[in-house]
């Protein structure tokens, strides 16, 4: 742990938590049956912190994600962002859903620019930035294609560009790299880390990759199988910027083992 890192951590500890998840539970009712997706989740996420969520499929990660983004109401408890109770969609946010949600009537570039149009940002610089982002994720040359002409991974990358187009204080991503090969994924992880280091947004990532979670996060939160609860909140004390090689380091492997054990235990 280098010095600046230590200072950062100290600062963060002092600052009030940016996002407070307070006793959140959520049930889904349908035809009499009820599914408890979340059961009393408590968590604080600091300003500028990068937190990843791991957990078995169907444990409620996406549900929690939606609740934090103000898109789903909790059955119990509440989420506060910067002290304000979340009771409507959070808009100072860049969001990547589990589906890519590209619309067929827009080209790839136009899909990315949707973010700018809806937010009424100046279009010329937005277009410039969109092109640059698309280039960065390897979609140069596909700007004017329609979504159905892309492969699964390419669609996902376009959706990520859309979420990164503007400067949001919070970045939320639900399995954004699931359809990518290892190499592209590594590259995207590096890019994301660089972007995050520059801007220090608060970031929430849902992922199934343990190493990705460790690589990117300040903290990794592990959730139990349904009904989802937090069963581990692990601080990752690796220096930044992190490199691909670091994944073979002893600390990294230790974290990996600890997380794998935790997930396997349930």
């Amino acid at each position: 742990m280098d010095e600046s890192q230590a200072r950062n951590d100290a600062l963060r500890a002092a600052a009030p938590a940016a996002i407070v998840i307070d006793g959140v539970a959520r049930q889904f009712n349908s035809r009499g049956q009820s599914v408890t997706a979340l059961d009393n989740v408590n968590l604080q996420i600091g300003d500028g912190e990068f937190v990843s969520f791991l957990g078995p499929s169907g444990c409620g990660k996406s549900t929690l994600f939606m609740i934090v983004a103000g898109l789903l109401a909790p059955s119990r408890g509440e989420v506060r962002i910067a002290g304000r109770r979340v009771d409507r969609p959070v808009t100072d946010i860049g969001i990547v859903f589990q589906q890519d949600l590209l619309v067929d009537w827009r080209t790839v570039l136009e899909n990315v620019l949707l973010q700018a149009e809806v937010r009424r940002l100046p279009l010329a610089p937005a277009r410039e930035r969109a092109r640059q982002l698309l280039q960065q994720v390897g979609l140069a040359g596909f700007e004017n294609r329609r979504p159905w002409e892309l492969s699964g991974g390419m669609r996902q990358r376009a959706a990520i560009c859309r979420a990164l187009l503007h400067d949001a204080r919070i970045l939320m991503m639900d399995e954004p790299f699931g359809a990518l090969d290892a190499l592209t994924r590594d590259q995207m992880n590096l890019d994301l880390q660089a972007l995050w280091s520059q801007t220090r947004r608060t970031a929430i990532l849902v992922t199934h990759s343990i190493s990705e979670a460790i690589f990117l996060s300040d903290r990794v939160v592990v959730m139990s199988p349904r009904p989802g609860r937090v069963i581990l909140d692990l601080r990752i004390d690796l220096p930044r910027p992190r490199t691909i090689e670091m994944r073979d380091s002893a600390e990294f492997v230790a974290y990996q083992k600890q997380l794998r054990g935790m997930i396997g235990a349930h």
Binding site: L71, P89, T91, I95, V103, D104, W105, Q115, V118, R119
Partner: protein
């Protein structure tokens, strides 16, 4: 083999109209024969050749009538489109609007317009407007119904995405629901344009001194079957042109939709 492929495409495009012309020619030939053989008495249905003669003889006057009717159709159709989309949006967004307005719309839709017509004429006079109103009334409902369904057929998560971008109802409508509804909206527009044609004609039946509908009724009254069929030809032709315009607009606006990609069930083999 792109050249063979585009060649096929082109043949496809030409064959469509050809096919229609061929069946039309066959139909007309059969009709002409039946007339000449006396199977179709002229007091019921005149022969195509007689109709063609009459068509040529009345071309100038009829074109004038057609022009007027076309204006009524276009005005009624455009108003209906705008009105129906706006009302559909209101219904989708505000439940109370639906509750208060919907049953009335259904009643208005099912009351035979011919029964309403007299009241309209008496209240609104013999101007251009009542015909436009008739075209509007007939075209309105199908557009509204399809637009409502189209606006509602949107994935919840897409709406969430837009809300996260800070979009309000108007933004969701503009950036998501309307484009998403377009393919089905155009379906209803195809129905609506034909109903707008009927509406303008009914408007003219009820009270008019000009227009194709007027010609039709007076030909009917004076037992002039040739003129009657000439007006039917004009009406059909005009309607086909309007229909074609809607189809062309559809091609431009929703070329992106899966129903226009032409890949349905054809896996390239």
């Amino acid at each position: 083999m792109p050249s063979l492929f585009t060649g096929l495409l082109r043949r496809d495009r030409i064959e469509g109209p050809l096919m229609f012309l061929a069946t039309a020619a066959l139909f007309i030939a059969a009709w002409e024969t039946s007339s000449r053989m006396g199977w179709l008495p002229p007091y019921l249905v005149p022969s195509p050749s007689k109709i063609a003669e009459k068509f040529a003889a009345t071309f100038g006057t009829m074109a004038g009538h057609a022009w007027l009717t076309a204006a009524e159709i276009a005005a009624g159709f455009l108003l209906a489109t705008a009105g129906a989309v706006v009302l559909a949006a209101l219904i989708v967004f505000f439940k109370p609007v639906e509750r208060a307005v919907y049953p009335w719309l259904v009643i208005l839709q099912v009351i035979p317009k011919v029964a309403l017509g007299p009241l309209l004429i008496i209240w609104l006079g013999f101007s251009f407007f009542p015909k436009v109103l008739m075209a509007f009334l007939l075209a309105f409902f199908p557009i509204m119904i399809d637009t409502i369904i189209g606006l509602r057929s949107i994935e919840t998560n897409s709406i969430y995405l837009l809300r996260s971008m800070g979009a309000g109802r108007l933004g969701i409508f503009r950036y998501l629901q309307l484009p998403n509804a377009l393919p089905h909206l155009f379906g209803s527009l195809k129905v609506a344009i034909t109903l707008a044609v009927v509406g303008a004609l009914v408007g003219e039946f009820i009270g008019a001194n000009e227009g194709l509908g007027y010609v039709l009724v007076s030909a009917n009254g004076s037992l002039d079957t040739e003129l009657l069929f000439v007006s039917l030809v004009w009406i059909s032709a005009q309607a086909m042109v309007f229909y074609g315009l809607v189809v062309a607009a559809e091609k431009v606006c929703v070329s992106w939709h899966v129903s226009h990609r032409g890949t349905l069930g054809r896996p390239g083999h």
